[in-house]
């Protein structure tokens, strides 16, 4: 077992004990689920929406190189600087170059999981630049110096009391139990930073190929401010986020809001087609768009795993996942948590390192049914397991399954095996649940089921005669 896997087990065990935190998560996701179901009901045909969205994404990914070319041509024609980043460190290098060129000191950021993926903040801070997260949830977790807990709800693991203490500690604010007052503390604190920032940074939810536009979805308006006030704007986007046409947005935007945030639409869905135009009064003078690959084009070439690139990062698979609810976001120790993370992390960042995530799933398929673009996540986890078991399974496990196949396939072995197991179980209570119990992984927390002397096959034979 590697260190990541060990830590996963340890943290999962801690979460099992932490009933209070699990309740915070359950309450948050409970509120979400109620709202989401109402918003889904507003659609005339939600299943058809899912099917259509899935087809458009699939079509788009099949033609990914052409779509990217169209996107970049259009964006370039309006004066946007396009950068291709093959890896995460390329992104950091590109952003550092822009900051140095602009003699920037402060960069204000809106939410971007892709920037988490490439560990951008760390790289910039190491070089002496100040980076401020402006999304309220991200602002909170940045003050706590921890990664977001969830793809969409970064601070969902914290209560208002903890946030009040945090603000009191770090911002010298008066303690308060009022979420509105807490929000206003963050608003006040960030206002001057938007104005002082040399560079505004955003993530993106879609890139529209045929008009050459970047689409950013948000609720707070912080991303709009990042894209309005600083003189230089940077957007980081994974290459898989390209959609073919402007007319696809009226489908994707309400779907993303519905499953991502339990809203009909989020407050701001903004399209950026380039830097400030000469006749416009404001906006950034320079606009840089960084297109990140980081393993995505490798997945695009695999017809099975291409499906996972349909993901819009809405978080709805996390929200329905009983594993996520049990272990929480930080236990995954991965940029992308929950079912999408368990599929993606091993494929993008190393099968060996993240293999435990592919097995940490009861295959309940709730994620697949919740996914707005119909990614068969549970099946992709099975595919991960197939690859992993042929490459990394311990010898004893392979041997055990070979033995089981033989046992199941020979009626004599099977019937003898049942009798022997019955005899063995008579002695089991002596050690049941203890450290020397070979079935300890079951019996430490559960009673073992009782084997019977007369199996169904025995009863059936008797009944027939």
């Amino acid at each position: 077992m590697n260190n990541l896997a060990k830590k996963f087990h340890q943290d999962a065990a801690h979460m099992a004990e932490n009933v209070a935190l699990r309740n915070v998560i359950a309450t948050g996701l409970g509120k979400y689920a109620e709202g989401r179901d109402k918003k889904i009901a507003d659609f005339q045909d939600w299943q058809k929406a899912r099917e259509t969205a899935s087809q458009i994404k699939r079509e788009s990914l099949n033609n990914l190189p052409q779509n990217i070319q169209q996107l970049t041509e259009k964006l370039t024609s309006r004066g946007t600087h396009i950068h291709f980043a093959a890896t995460g460190s390329d992104v950091c290098r590109i952003v550092l170059n822009i900051l140095r060129q602009k003699k920037a000191k402060l960069m204000i950021k809106s939410k971007s999981m892709t920037s988490e993926e490439v560990h951008l903040n760390k790289a910039l801070e190491k070089e002496g630049f100040k980076v401020v997260e402006s999304d309220l949830g991200e602002f909170i977790v940045q003050l706590r110096q921890e990664p977001p807990y969830h793809i969409v709800f970064p601070a969902m693991h914290l209560t208002r009391y903890q946030i009040s203490d945090l603000f009191h500690d770090k911002l010298n604010s008066q303690p308060t139990e009022n979420p509105e007052t807490l929000t206003m503390i963050a608003r006040q604190n960030l206002r001057s930073q938007y104005i002082q920032a040399d560079v505004g940074f955003t993530g993106a939810n879609f890139a529209v190929a045929d008009t050459g536009m970047i689409s950013v979805t948000e609720n707070e308006g912080n991303s709009r401010l990042c894209g309005s006030l600083p003189k230089t704007m940077i957007t980081l986007i994974g290459i898989e986020k390209v959609i073919p046409r402007l007319e696809d947005l009226p489908l994707f935007l309400p779907m993303l809001a519905t499953v991502g945030a339990a809203q009909n639409l989020t407050a701001y869905n903004t399209l950026y087609s380039g830097p400030k135009r000469p006749e416009e009064p404001d906006g950034p003078e320079e606009y840089h768009v960084i297109l990140l690959d980081n393993g995505r084009s490798r997945l695009q070439k695999d017809p099975v795993y291409r499906e996972v690139l349909k993901c819009m990062r809405c978080g709805s698979c996390l929200n329905v996942c009983p594993i996520y609810k049990s272990v929480g976001g930080h236990t995954y120790n991965a940029t992308y948590s929950g079912p999408i993370g368990s599929v993606l992390m091993p494929k993008l960042f190393g099968m060996a390192a993240y293999k435990h995530l592919s097995f940490a799933c009861s295959l309940c398929c709730a994620c697949r049914d919740a996914c707005p673009v119909k990614i068969d996540l549970s099946h992709l986890l099975l595919k991960n397991r197939e690859t992993l078991s042929s490459q990394f399974a311990p010898k004893y496990e392979k041997l055990a399954f070979k033995g089981m196949s033989a046992l199941f396939n020979h009626p004599l072995f099977w019937s003898l095996g049942k009798k022997l197991a019955w005899i063995g179980q008579k002695l089991h209570p002596l050690i049941e649940g203890s450290a020397i119990d070979p079935a300890q992984c079951w019996t430490a927390t559960r009673k073992a089921p009782k084997l019977v002397w007369h199996s169904f096959k025995d009863l059936w034979k008797k009944y027939k005669s």
Binding site: S362, C365, A366, N384, K398, S405, F408, P411, W460
Partner: protein, 238 residues
């Protein structure tokens, strides 16, 4: 009708009474039952753990034995899903492909077979208790079985069904329960809490593997809730 009852490994070794009751239910309805004595397992444990070759070794025997049966019925949603959904994929490019697809077409989960295929909903059962129902995930999401067991229970005299707050996995998940006992147990606890909140005396399910997990947890922690397979209720005339 000639019904092939395939009682999977854990029902054979742990809960033979459930399969015997299924036999009696079908015979009382005037059908002929046969049991493939040479088969023990559908191959799902190996398949779900990623050992697909070992799964194929077990599954190919099932296919050869049952592909030309009239109807194959299993008292387990999970094993049924294995045959119906995953055999065709597992044998997609093999000589057994056609037989695997044939088998998938005439394989049924018990409650689904009664309601959707035989169109039987009232078995004249009597069961005086308040119960809650746990949907096994594979039956629910791979096979779309939701209404069928509820339909059958609605005709059981004396039975009151109270639903849990949410539909959620019990945390069994086959080898997952042994590889990640800390998570599996947390999920099972949450399931038991939800069931207890309904005030029901029993958790009923059409999947024995889920019940085995829930039972094991409840016994270890001395939590007072009984577990029972749907078939036992349908065969009851207390």
């Amino acid at each position: 009708m000639r019904i092939t009852l395939f009682a999977p490994c854990f029902i054979d070794a742990l809960y033979p009474g459930i399969a015997m009751k299924a036999v009696k239910i079908f015979e009382n309805l005037g059908h002929q039952v046969n049991v493939p004595e040479e088969l023990a397992c559908c191959g799902q444990p190996a398949f779900n753990t990623g050992h697909w070759d070992e799964a194929r070794a077990v599954a190919s025997k099932v296919i050869e034995s049952l592909w030309d049966a009239e109807a194959v019925v299993l008292p387990s949603g999970s094993c049924t899903a294995m045959i119906r959904k995953f055999y065709p994929e597992l044998f997609a490019e093999s000589p057994l492909s056609e037989k695997a697809c044939r088998l998938a077409e005439h394989t049924w989960e018990f409650s689904d077979f009664l309601v959707s295929h035989l169109k039987v909903t009232d078995l004249g059962a009597v069961f005086n208790a308040t119960v809650t129902f746990h949907d096994g995930c594979h039956g629910l999401r791979e096979l779309g079985i939701y209404q069928q067991p509820r339909e059958l229970m609605s005709h059981v005299k004396g039975l009151t069904l109270v639903e849990m707050e949410a539909i959620q996995c019990c945390g069994f998940g086959g080898t997952f329960s042994a590889k990640f006992p800390e998570i599996s147990t947390t999920m099972g606890d949450s399931k038991i809490n939800m069931a207890l909140e309904t005030g029901a005396e029993y958790i009923v399910s059409n999947d024995s593997s889920c019940l085995m997990h829930i039972r094991g947890l409840a016994d270890k922690q001395h939590r007072h809730i009984k577990t029972i397979h749907l078939i036992e209720i349908l065969a009851s005339n207390e």
